[in-house]
């Protein structure tokens, strides 16, 4: 049975509608701890103009954000802060690991620098580069928008913690290097 629709009516799925709304209004949380933060600022400024892609509203309160951009190296003492900010962001939320340091530790292969934030946060996009150019960050945001459109559901089933963490290989497969028994003992 054919139904005549007027020209100003669009039919879609509810999931896709929710994803479409989410992907075009990303509010980034700039967690800028190093020189990647300068490129992040340049991306938001007029020359590269992140506003063209609907993600220019940088908020410095985690409760208003849904896109964490970890820009720069994270040391052990900063890690609880990063985790707390991440946990305070409301769902649905995504994470971009910007630059070599946030993704792998970069050249800072020392005792106190976290070797990749993906061990502690579920990262959606990794951006290589030291620091990455603004074009790379914009590309990552566009790719993330594609991912949100592709995977999103209106009730946020894709954010179920266990499923989500199983999907993040790095959280499981990274080997624990060395022994930290004394460190663990001090924790408890």
């Amino acid at each position: 049975m054919a139904v005549d629709l007027p020209d100003n009516v669009v039919v879609t799925k509810l999931d896709e509608l929710a994803s479409w709304c989410r992907k075009n209004s990303l509010w980034p949380m700039p967690f800028a701890t190093a020189c990647c933060g300068i490129e992040l600022m340049a991306t938001g400024a007029s020359k590269y103009d992140l506003a063209r892609f609907g993600a220019e509203v940088f908020r410095f309160s985690p409760r208003q954000c849904d896109l964490m951009i970890v820009a720069g190296r994270v040391v052990m003492k900063m890690l609880p802060v990063l985790q707390r900010i991440w946990q305070q962001m409301p769902e649905p939320k995504w994470c971009i690991s910007m630059g070599a340091c946030a993704s792998t530790g970069g050249v800072f292969d020392t005792y106190c620098v976290v070797q990749g934030v993906d061990r502690f946060l579920p990262v959606d996009m990794y951006i290589p580069g030291c620091p990455p150019r603004p074009e790379q960050l914009i590309q990552a945001i566009i790719d993330l928008q594609d991912k949100i459109q592709r995977e999103g559901t209106i009730f946020g089933a894709e954010f179920k913690q266990t499923q989500r963490q199983q999907a993040k290989r790095a959280l499981i497969e990274l080997p624990v290097i060395g022994q930290a028994s004394e460190f663990r003992a001090a924790q408890s």
Binding site: M76, T110, G178, F183, A186
Partner: protein
């Protein structure tokens, strides 16, 4: 910068165990651990070294021609006479305790906390001897030469915060 000879001669006459040397125009002075506080006290009150520029430490593990494990370094300055002086105190395990210099210079507070944080040298009489750079849970002293550059796994084994802990 060379220290005025009068200061050095007065000090060496007062304290027996001091060693004085010069290197590229800087005067260096090695004091035994027991005399450290008295020497620095004398330097401050009798010779006008009113500024403690830095307190730092060197680990001489496996260093050539080194006889002691740790060299604690006090960099002093006299802002009136424009004098500078380096005072070293050599330490060996297990006696890694020196008197705190906070009673003499308030600025020694954070400097000594940093040395404690990185080398594990304790300062007797320090008002607030906690770690200053590393997290309190950290159990090692990372600037010691026998500590591996990449750590003992502390950077990977940090606890992951849950939602209800945030």
């Amino acid at each position: 910068m060379l220290t005025r000879p009068a200061v050095i001669t007065a000090l060496t006459q007062q304290f027996a165990g001091l060693t004085v040397s010069e290197f590229r125009g800087d005067t260096r002075l090695v004091a035994p651990r027991e005399q450290a506080f008295a020497v620095l006290e004398q330097l401050k009150f009798a010779h006008g070294f009113d500024l403690l520029v830095d307190v730092t430490c060197v680990d001489y593990l496996n260093a050539r021609e080194a006889t002691d494990r740790f060299g604690l370094v006090y960099l002093l300055a006299n802002t009136v006479e424009n004098d500078r002086l380096t005072v070293r105190v050599f330490l060996n395990e297990p006696e890694l305790t020196v008197p705190s210099m906070v009673p003499l210079w308030e600025g020694a507070n954070w400097l000594e906390r940093e040395v404690y944080d990185m080398f594990g040298i304790t300062f007797a009489g320090h008002p607030d001897l906690r770690r200053i750079l590393l997290p309190d849970e950290f159990a090692a002293y990372p600037l010691r030469k026998d500590y591996p550059l990449r750590g003992r796994g502390e950077r990977h084994n940090f606890p992951v915060l849950r939602r209800d802990q945030a």
